[in-house]
Symmetry: C2
Subunit: 370 residues, 2 copies
């Protein structure tokens, strides 16, 4: 887990501030948008997202893993360090959970100014059925010592970020790590993980933004102090500046999204809708909380009406909402917003933060009815 | 198959010319880049691309198909019109072929000025094993009449493009349609098609750019005259202007791509490489022709050396190339270019065309060696 500083030998993007004040994205951001992928919003029709439609964010490169040689090492402040093969994980108690996952950067490109990074709009979401063994059981086998405070997860993926050469690493407190729904997952939607989703084994932390669910796991280490690695201390913070520590980005904020109705104009994705009654529908989710209300506006957010809510797909996944709309000729802006069981409502515009995280501002869909 | 003109009710992107002269892409292009997806270039390591890593371009929306009700209708100038269920296709003779597919717009965002559309750089590629029944057999069963000239393929996907409401439609001449490698495919990599790849059935035309392999097929119709639909006559043309007919975009042009070596800088994707000997590798393909040579330059294209070529993955798929490089400290620009069996060589810059098609100009990879 070497950490080294590299002088900046890489090109500057934009004016060097790390921000852009227009919505035109740089070549470097486009490169990321073409590698990573959102879920096309019509994918909201599926309770479980087909594997190839699930959103994906890969910080560095997708590693090549020889599963015969691969082992996950469990060490640090544990009584019985372990080194386990995939086969050994498969022999342990298995659990399958449908989980809605979202990237912490979803909505980043909607902030002004825009942090120059992966330029998500609304699509960095998906729900899959993940199968694995509870992390809690593995930590019990290893015997995490009482003086351990933090569990660090290290991926095989390696790159340079903020000038630091690093493996991707994130941590959880022991109390978060032993929650029963936290899995070491080796299957997605009933199949072995595809390479881009973390083959052979990944962490899966329901309710948290996706950066916590470390892919291509190679190490789990118990530490006495909170881990201060790059992905914990330098990024994934709600802060106003680079240096202000701010608050850690953790659980997924409440959000509803709509399947854009009608048919699209190829280039602008503006929707053409036939006049008359139609059902607007989509999904809503709220991290570890539940969704208590979904409202729809067909006048750009001036007035709101309640949508109908179905049961959640699982306690850790989204739920369907529906709303009957009598579409009249003309241009309309449709909006949807959700409220969670803690009383949090999606805002028209989310408060700006330096890294562009947690932007659950209300989706707006432009339609032309004729 | 109604065709209707819609007055432009959709927003103008850019200055209205349809082009941009910088590499900063508009919000509308970003929306497309986040829906569609490239193959991360490290995916070049796999002979067969994992399904979820294959490139994807969807013109309109991914349709929802009830396979119990779905039928493919074969009609027009045929003696025995047919309407077939998926089960009926599965009962017919099956063939599996590994095929390299590429989007005709791959490289579009590298042209100056850049056509405002899906802004591909290099990633719109992939190789899959497709299973289906040869189209030829179906056309024989239906009895295509001798006066038929063109076979039109209609998808279930519907949208607005160039002001026309349309189902996605493309055609092939009868002689192209009855080539033995042309399939009506219902499996990709041994599994039923995922929704985004054309479930339940798609056309698969090896050697041609991807726009020809119509997804979500609902109709096949034999016509006496060449089909003049939007996707044949208005776009997918090598022309200098909107109105000049130019030449049709057809077969995939020769191209080689490299797995960027070393590790990436997160934002710029610049590569950090350790000094010493390493193997550069990637894949090369040439549509219906074969790749006869691959050359590598480690000095930005000033000098070139031959790479080693492996056997193709199939007669319709790419082949691996490898090149041993002794990396010395400093910044380098690596390039790779292929030559096909017709003597065509990838150019440093491809000739500009209005739609931004067929840009097989040489890939350039910036690396920092230390």
């Amino acid at each position: 887990m070497e950490q080294q500083r590299t002088p900046s030998r890489f090109p500057t993007v934009g004016d060097g501030s790390g921000f852009a004040d227009t919505d035109r994205v740089f070549r470097e951001e486009l490169q990321l948008a073409l590698r990573n992928r959102g879920m096309p919003l019509e994918g909201l029709r599926y309770p479980i997202t087909p594997t190839g439609m699930h959103y994906l964010l890969v910080h560095y490169d997708i590693p090549e893993v020889n599963v015969e040689e691969w082992r996950l090492k469990v060490g640090g402040l544990v009584s019985r360090p372990m080194s386990l093969s995939l086969e050994e994980f498969r022999k342990r108690p298995a659990r399958t959970i449908a989980v809605t996952m979202e990237c912490a950067g979803n909505g980043r490109a909607l902030f002004t100014p825009r942090r120059i990074s992966q330029p998500w709009l609304f699509e960095a979401i998906g729900t899959a059925e993940w199968t694995g063994t509870p992390l809690k059981g593995i930590l019990e086998e290893a015997g995490v010592r009482p003086d351990a405070a933090d569990i660090v997860f290290t991926g095989l993926d390696r790159g340079v970020e903020g000038g630091e050469v690093q493996h991707y690493q994130r941590s959880l407190t022991v109390s978060e790590a032993v929650r029963e729904e936290v899995l070491l997952a080796y299957e997605m939607n009933g199949e072995p993980l595809q390479p881009q989703h973390g083959y052979p084994l990944r962490l899966l932390v329901p309710g948290w933004y996706g950066m916590t669910s470390v892919k291509w796991l190679q190490g789990i280490e118990a530490l006495a102090e909170p881990f201060q690695g790059y992905q914990m201390a330098r990024v994934y913070r709600y802060s106003r500046t680079q240096d202000e520590p701010g608050e850690a980005v953790t659980l997924i904020r409440v959000r509803a999204l709509m399947i854009p109705p009608g048919i699209p104009d190829f280039l602008t994705r503006t929707r053409l809708v036939q006049a008359g009654a139609l059902i607007l529908t989509g999904k809503a989710w709220a991290g570890r909380l539940s969704v208590s209300r979904v409202e729809v506006s067909v006048d750009g957010g001036s007035t709101w009406s309640d949508a109908r809510l179905d049961e959640p797909v699982s306690p850790h996944a989204w739920r369907t909402w529906t709303f009957r709309w009598n579409a009249r000729r003309g241009a309309h802006t449709l909006c949807v917003r959700a409220t969670d069981s803690g009383g949090n409502v999606q805002p028209p515009e989310q408060e700006w933060n330096f890294g562009g995280y947690g932007n659950n501002s209300v989706q707006r869909v432009t339609v032309v009815v004729e």
